[in-house]
Amino acid sequence: MSKESVFQVIKESIVDILPEISTNQIEIALSLQDLGANSIDRMDIIIRSMESLGVKIPLVELARVSNIQGLVDLFYERARA
């Protein structure tokens, strides 16, 4: 699985949770907060993405992630492990 396809999975989760956002608005440097996600939306997007990718990451490890790029990197690393 490439980083691009991890990003794709995250994008799908984002548009599922945030109906007003379309995929072309989602830039990798943005944070979920920038897209208007509240704290519960953010957890929902992260958990959905983890489920789609089949990874399980303790939520404490997500604390160091600050934007979508960070999520992609973390998920990519764990999906390969």
């Binding site: 109906p19 519960i40 957890m43 929902d44 958990i47 489920e51 399980k56």
Partner: protein, 426 residues
């Protein structure tokens, strides 16, 4: 001096109509919403008929709202944001509430949010939602949606509805099993009487049961539908010799209650007045009805409303089609009204809607107000051989009737008895 309380808006979504107009038309012709259960359960259970809400898409409904001139722009976006993925029962409450709010002209004619309250009637509102998540949860608990922690709470409905409708006064849920709807109306009535709010949205939440609750009701012996399994529309037969238990129904209903003063100031139609109500307990944790408790509920409600038994024209009974329940309710009515029972119209809306459990009181108050205002009593479609003869049951067809004053009964497991008095506004 206590505030007078009137109804200024009504909304409904049910197996016999997805709005007040459709619901009224079904009451008039005596259309039953009971049929074979749409999607078989996993595992298969002993219950196979019910009055389900079918053919409704919440998204499509909201699209329709976006074109309504009554509803402010932006409203449907807010609803989508809060409730697009909320459980079905929450979406049902919102649908009924939008109709009632619009009916009461509260979208264009707003009040101070602090003077508006909300009551969600019903308890254990998320059974179907929880059951649906359980299988996956057993495999991968890590993937449980975080929104579960919000949605599993009954009070999620208070949060969502108060956000959407900008309600900032008192708000809570009331639980009373099958009497919940009437308790919601009674508590809303009291909030306004006490002057704590001017408007109170009372929602009878849909009971969206999981197969486990349905099987539980079956196993306790409360459900009918055995003899008429191949003719589901005949299975719910309140007060008929062949009654055998209740049939599960789905409906969400909403009443906007308002102080007489506020409704007059806003110059909106007063659909009915709530003039009294009572909630009394038997002190009994079981499912059996109690004649003394039912008598006390009806008498207390009438006393509170300062209404003589001779002035009551119609009773919307609890009438679930349960042999014991039907028998006891008629006995209780006879004790309260004595010879007058021959002059009081009696019917049971559950023959058409099934037993909507938590929302039953609200749905039946709506049915009562419709019959009052349109001057008819709806048919008792399955009443072939009444268990008692000295009552004025409505027949198989719509009958014209003048109903200035009505009583609506709801009784719940756990010895919970309620009765409310509704009357035309003078």
């Amino acid at each position: 001096m206590k505030e007078r309380v009137v109804v200024t808006g009504m909304g409904v979504i049910s197996s016999i109509g997805k709005n007040i107009n459709e619901f009224t038309a079904s009451l008039k012709v005596g259309r039953s919403g009971i049929g074979r259960i749409y999607n078989a359960f996993d595992p298969p259970i002993s219950v196979s008929i019910a009055a389900e809400i079918q053919g409704i898409s919440f998204d499509a409904y909201l699209e329709g709202c976006a074109y309504s001139t009554e509803i402010p722009p932006g409203f449907t976006n807010e609803v989508k944001q809060c409730a697009r993925r909320a459980p079905f029962a929450v979406q049902g409450s919102i649908t009924a509430a939008i109709e009632a709010w619009s009916h009461a002209q509260l979208f264009k004619n707003t009040l101070a949010p602090e003077r508006v309250g909300i009551i969600i009637a019903g308890n254990n509102l998320t059974e179907h939602y929880q059951y649906g998540l359980y299988e996956k949860f057993k495999q991968t608990p890590e993937y449980l949606s975080p929104t579960y922690a919000l949605h599993y709470l009954d009070t999620d409905q208070v949060g969502i509805l108060s956000q959407i409708f900008k309600i900032r006064g008192e708000g809570f849920t009331v639980g009373g099993a099958s009497a919940s709807g009437n308790i919601g109306i009674l508590k809303g009535f009291q909030l306004i009487q006490l002057g704590l709010v001017d408007v109170c949205m009372v929602i009878g939440s849909m009971a969206h049961l999981s197969p486990m609750e349905l099987q539980g009701f079956y196993n306790i012996g409360a459900m009918g539908g055995k003899r008429f399994i191949n003719e589901p529309e005949k299975a719910c037969r309140p007060f008929d010799r062949e009654h055998e238990g209740f049939i599960y129904g789905q409906a969400s209903g909403c009443l906007v209650l308002e102080s007489f003063k506020s409704a007059s100031a806003r110059e909106v139609s007063k659909l009915a007045e709530i003039s009294g109500g009572a909630l009394v307990l038997d002190g009994n944790h079981l499912s059996d009805p109690n004649e003394a408790g039912e008598i006390r509920a009806m008498e207390t409600a009438l006393n509170q409303a300062l209404i003589d038994t001779y002035d009551v024209n119609y009773i919307n009974t609890h009438g679930t089609s349960s042999p014991k329940g039907d028998e006891i309710e008629l006995k209780a009515i006879r004790k309260v009204f004595k010879r007058k029972t021959l002059d009081i119209w009696i019917n049971a809306t559950k023959a058409l809607t099934g037993h909507c459990l938590y929302s039953a009181g609200v749905i039946e108050a709506i049915a009562t107000i419709i019959q009052m205002n349109e001057g008819f009593v709806h048919p008792n479609i399955n009443l072939d051989n009444p268990i008692e003869s000295d009552f004025k049951f409505s027949g198989k067809e719509l009958t014209k009737a003048s109903i200035p004053i009505a009583l609506s009964n709801s009784f719940g497991f756990g010895g919970i008895n309620t009765s409310i008095v509704l009357q035309k506004v003078k």
